[in-house]
Symmetry: C2
Subunit: 191 residues, 2 copies
């Protein structure tokens, strides 16, 4: 890494820039450090264990989700992996083309599709996951065992809160005004 600014320096600059503005600093620091940490950890894991298997982060997460749950319907895989259905379609195709994942139709409901690891996929995860976990230990090195637990627990509370109340919050925020269309994305057939 050896960055230009350390995380501590950035926080000082924020303080300087926003010194006069009334803000909720603790929450700001908490949230922005979550993203800083997530990015740094992700980059470390991508450039260590994942890279050697030529897996992307998202590809790994999808494999992981399916591995943990066994067979799983695609809509739930997308949700667990934190990606959209459309993205999953593409990612699953990539993983299928590498022989790691397979796709089954649902026996009774023709709309559903189910994902499952191939034997090669199972083997890969059995090999990869311990290495992945070793790096999780490495990045958690500065935390005491009790701190790691406490960290996980606080984050879990935040996620649970968002799962329960996020949608309502977003509805309240925008009130009547519907969401503006995105700049990019598919357009209606004709004006």
């Amino acid at each position: 890494m050896s960055g230009h600014h350390t995380i501590a320096e950035t926080e000082k600059a924020v303080q300087a820039k926003l010194g006069a503005v009334p803000l909720h600093r603790e929450q700001m620091a908490a949230v922005s450090n979550i993203h800083r940490a997530a990015t740094a950890i992700r980059q470390h894991l991508e450039n260590s264990v994942l890279r050697t298997s030529d897996l992307t982060w998202t590809g790994f997460v999808v494999l992981w989700v399916v591995w943990i749950w066994g067979e799983m319907e695609t809509r739930y895989v997308a949700e667990e992996a934190g990606i959209s259905k459309g993205t999953l379609t593409g990612v699953a195709k990539t993983l299928q083309s590498r022989g790691l994942l397979e796709r089954l139709g649902h026996p009774t409901d023709g709309r559903l599709a189910v994902l499952r690891l191939t034997p090669e996929g199972e083997e890969l995860m059995a090999d990869l996951f311990p290495k992945f976990n070793e790096e999780e230990v490495f990045v958690s090195d500065p935390l005491e065992s009790s701190e790691a637990q406490s960290l996980a627990e606080m984050l879990r509370r935040m996620v649970t809160h968002l799962e329960a109340n996020g949608e309502q919050r977003r509805l309240d925020l925008r009130g009547d005004t519907p969401l503006p269309p995105r700049r990019s994305g598919r357009r209606a057939k004709h004006g």
Copy 2:
């Protein structure tokens, strides 16, 4: 949200799947919850404050970094934002085309490029950031003030640790073997 599985259920499934394998569970839970939380928070922020200004997450982060630091050389912007230089070139173009960002040559070193917000960009951030901060408060709702501080501090330690030791760790991990080339990417001119 209203997911299929809650985060608690997922952790139970992990326990079931990996019950026999010797793993470091606390660190695993901590790291995976960091990513879960980061994804959930990012989606919430994108679909509330960012969406109304048609900003992507990365676009906002770049604006934020430049806003906090004032003028900043592009290489440092990329690093602070957690993206590659090549990506930054594209993102900066997008933001310039919207009149939010401008690009200046460095007065003394002709190789450098410097980014700075336009008045429109300053105005947008001044308007947007308080709203953004309000949502940071919302997502941190389940945390006591002291907990938010403690969370930020633990994450800061993890990031600092990675900044200091990540590169060496990756070097040690791969030992002699150079990184395998990526599946994709530009090829050398002739084999």
